[in-house]
């Protein structure tokens, strides 16, 4: 068996471990990632739509819809890889035992990425389905693209979570990472308002993976977008995945080995 094959099989064991633990508390685990976008849709989408009028020919609720898919991917990945990983590493000492088996640090990190990809893909499918039922997807076929884009978006966001987990000195410091990094990314990346007339912000958002995921989901949901822009955002997501992924692996290796 080739090295890559063995490594992926071992990484898959990490996914299985996370799944077995996750399903123990399924309702508690799934609630925030589904309840938050639902509340957001109700409060902002339905609440504000009548006052806002149309954006690019869509109601505000329709404008907001794809962003909710992106949001669930971002939060699933970030919280799982920051708080979740930190708890596994520090309080549960999961890796102290796991690393005595053939599983290595690389497999642990790849396993976490596979895990958030799958989780975010499933959540994106769930949110997408709900949006479709509410009639908020002009392009109904986009629900088949959501899981894939959601998964792709989740991996670099997970890498940011792992980097945070490697850097914080105690669990409270995640709050700072959330307030000054994740929340701004979430609120300012075109989910809630278009960035077309905002030159500075419009450029800045390109430097986070979230914006590229948001744009891909919006293009899918609204059924409009160019091949060029699609390729641009996919390439950007890919580059963020590679760069942040390798960086996260290095940092987590420093944490788990001495």
């Amino acid at each position: 068996m080739s090295e890559i094959h063995v490594s992926l099989r071992l990484a898959w064991h990490v996914v299985v471990r996370n799944w077995i633990v996750y399903r123990k508390d399924f309702l508690a685990n799934i609630s925030p990632t589904l309840a938050d976008p639902a509340l957001m849709m109700t409060a902002l989408g339905m609440g504000l739509s009548p006052f806002i009028g149309q954006i690019d020919g869509h109601s505000y609720a329709q404008y907001l819809a794809p962003g909710m898919v992106a949001t669930t991917a971002l939060f699933t990945a970030f919280f799982e890889c920051s708080y979740g990983f930190y708890v596994r590493m520090t309080f549960e000492s999961v890796f102290k035992a796991m690393l005595t088996t053939p599983i290595g640090v690389r497999e642990v990190v790849i396993g976490e990425f596979l895990w958030v990809f799958i989780r975010a893909a499933l959540m994106a499918a769930g949110v997408g389905l709900a949006l479709a039922v509410m009639g908020l997807l002009p392009n109904i076929w986009s629900i088949f693209m959501f899981p894939f884009i959601g998964g792709l978006l989740a991996v670099p966001c997970g890498a940011i979570g792992l980097l945070a987990a490697a850097h914080v000195r105690n669990i409270n410091q995640f709050q700072t990472v959330y307030s000054f990094l994740i929340a701004p990314i979430y609120f300012l990346s075109g989910v809630f308002f278009p960035l077309t007339d905002r030159p500075i912000l419009g450029v800045l958002v390109h430097f986070s993976p979230f914006y590229h995921g948001v744009r891909l989901l919006q293009m899918a949901a609204w059924g409009r977008g160019s091949l060029g822009e699609t390729v641009l955002h996919l390439t950007a997501l890919f580059l963020f995945t590679v760069v942040l992924g390798i960086w996260a692996l290095r940092k987590i290796r420093q944490k788990l080995t001495i």
């Binding site: 080739s2 064991h13 077995i20 549960e92 796991m98 690393l99 088996t101 053939p102 080995t257 001495i258």
Partner: protein, 319 residues
Amino acid sequence: MSVLSSELKSSTRPVEAAAIHARGVTKRFGEFVAIDKLDLDVRRGECVGLLGPNGAGKSTFIGCLYGVVERSGGELNVFGYDPALEPRRIKERLGVVPQENALDEELTVLENMRLYARFEGLSKTAALPRIEELLTHMSLDHKRDAAIRSLSGGMKRRLAFVRALLSDPELLILDEPTTGLDPTVRHLLWEKVLSYRQAGKTTLVTTHYMHEAELLCDRIVILNRGIVVGTGAPRELIAREAPGYVGIFSPDREQILRAHMQPHWDLFHQGRQCCIRAPRIEDLMSLQQASGIQALQIRPCNLEDVYLKLTGRELDDNE
């Protein structure tokens, strides 16, 4: 890495490589030297005990063996593989009972063990009978569906042993295996280690219990501040480093005792008591007569005397 190159590597591995071969292994954390040019050989089938004060470098060395601690220098091979280069090949042959149990608290006993059987590459059909066998062996079979959090400390420790033995490892590493356990569990675990040893497997154990080391180990290695300060079979170490008998006296009689003892005898303190070591039991008898002071206790020297002598009887500043 291609199949071919990994096969080539394994074919260059000496068939009868020592279980552990360490030469000049060093680990530095900045200025601090945790392990200083450590030499250690563990033959296959041998049980070696690593003794030493907290912070002596025992766990650091163990970490080096399977690659979670990157050594700063020296040559290290486990079954002929360098843990810095091919940790997985070593980990496939290894069972570890770490200092912390690190069991998944949320899961049941069976879920935990099935997960680790999976990590170790056991097929589902092979895993279940193996798990049942080991659980029965450790008297945990009635707990198979209990959540880990509901187990007592002794049960968790036994389960950590089950986990380490799942893949039938060639080398078993026990990092303070019986710390904090009651005597019953301790005896059960000793018996398991001894039967594992009898099966020709290799064991490396760290402990603070001298009795445990004497009972389990063919050979003892005593570390102090990252340096090997003594090595040998338990009896041999005692005969070499602290032969004879120890008389324990009350501390206020030290001056009188000093006046009557031979210069080559050893006077030291353990706790608040004054201890005198002499080569023969008769020496202590005549000391009692000559000084008119009765010893509180006279006992043969043991591994603890060797340990205390070699590691220094004072506590380190960092303790």
